[in-house]
């Protein structure tokens, strides 16, 4: 299946709507404004993922979930460790800079944030495209940023992926990425659903 510029633009717009919904859910949870950047979209061989996503040379926290059903892939919320700790401060109404290590409760809160964001993001895709997609219970991982692609690619056997990425920011202390990686086998179904929906107007 040929992916045209039109498809890419439509996917970007869809990613924008989904990220908007995810950030709005985050905003409700933390009662703060969440700023979003326009989504970046890449259709790339998976061997280029490390180059695109592995640039962060710092410790990061990732909350991720594998997707299955009509769409196979991974959704991940990624933050530098300092942002994850600041987000924990905000969630628990603690003084800024209080969290020095992520306790079990902090981790559970972050997983819950990830869970809500991932579900809201996916709901937009599922509702718009009418696709059946399930996501497994999110897991949390902390690692050096350069290892991040290993987690996104875990269990992936395809050669290409569609990568949708949106940066988010809360005040000055919290920044992160919402990343959706769709395996190439799912792309025809995804684009097919997108075309059908767009034809319906």
């Amino acid at each position: 299946m040929k992916i045209t510029k039109f498809h890419v633009d439509a996917l970007r717009e869809l990613g924008n709507m989904a990220a908007g919904k995810a950030s709005s859910s985050l905003s409700s949870m933390v009662d703060k404004k969440v700023n979003l950047s326009p989504p970046a979209i890449d259709i790339i061989p998976i061997k280029r993922i490390p180059e695109l996503l592995g640039g962060q040379k710092k410790m990061i926290v990732g909350i991720y979930s594998k997707l299955s059903g009509n769409v196979y892939g991974t959704m991940m919320i990624v933050m530098p460790i300092k942002s994850a700790m600041s987000l924990s401060d905000i969630m628990l109404n603690k003084k800024s800079g209080s969290t020095k290590a992520l306790s079990q409760k902090d981790q559970e809160n972050l997983i819950e944030i990830g869970n809500v964001m991932i579900h809201n993001y996916l709901n937009v895709l599922i509702n718009f495209l009418g696709m059946k997609t399930e996501c497994e219970k999110p897991r949390i991982v902390s690692t050096f940023g350069e290892s991040l692609p290993d987690f996104i690619l875990l269990g992936t056997k395809t050669k290409y992926t569609i990568l949708l990425r949106t940066d988010f920011k809360i005040q000055k202390n919290v920044e992160g990425d919402v990343i959706l990686s769709i395996e190439v086998e799912s792309v025809p179904k995804f684009i097919g659903a997108l075309e059908k929906k767009l034809k319906q107007g």
């Binding site: 981790q107 690692t143 290993d150």
Partner: protein, 177 residues
């Protein structure tokens, strides 16, 4: 002074690695340790086991010279089957379990060296004071078994006070620039 002599003169070493070059420096260090010592315990907190093995291959490091204490893969892949030279710990916040596994490995195996990569990951889930106590206990065990211990921290992701404090317990702190 060659690498072996330098390490053996110091025994307990803290490597402070710049974030920019961490991945390269850590593999260079592992390769040197592999070429120098027989039997190395590698406490892996940052890489999926399969990714680490791929890096070993790319860097001509002999994985059979290592025993892995893996603190990351099982939490990501519950169906991970450890190879014979690997044992998993459920979570980086479980300092007691990590300590016990290291102790057992030191007791039961014939290891010349222990590499802990990295304390910065432990600090994400545990208070600095707890990590300091934990490191002290690992150092005592390493001294008891006359095993060289090399700890790593990431310069930009670790509070300088913690690095200073640890510096008091180790024989040598090496800052990579």
């Amino acid at each position: 002074m060659d690498f072996r002599e330098y390490i053996e003169n110091n025994k307990i070493i803290l490597l402070v690695l710049p974030n920019e070059t961490y991945s390269k420096v850590i593999m260079d260090t592992v390769r040197k340790l592999d070429n120098t010592f027989k039997g190395i315990i590698y406490v892996n907190m940052n890489n999926l086991h399969s990714s680490l093995m791929k890096k070993f291959k790319e860097n001509n490091i002999n994985e059979n010279n290592f025993f892995f204490v893996d603190v990351i893969t099982k939490s990501t892949m519950s169906d991970f089957k450890e190879p014979e030279n690997c044992i998993s710990v459920d979570s980086p916040s479980n300092l007691s379990q990590i300590g016990i596994v290291i102790s057992e490995a030191l007791k039961e195996g014939d290891f010349q060296c222990l590499l802990f990569d990295s304390l910065s990951t432990l600090l994400i889930y545990n208070r600095g004071s707890d990590v300091t106590m934990f490191v002290n206990s690992v150092i005592s065990k390493a001294r008891t078994f006359d095993t060289i211990a090399v700890f790593t921290v990431l310069k930009d992701d670790t509070e300088s006070n913690f690095i200073k404090k640890l510096g008091m317990f180790v024989d040598k702190t090496i800052n990579f620039d």
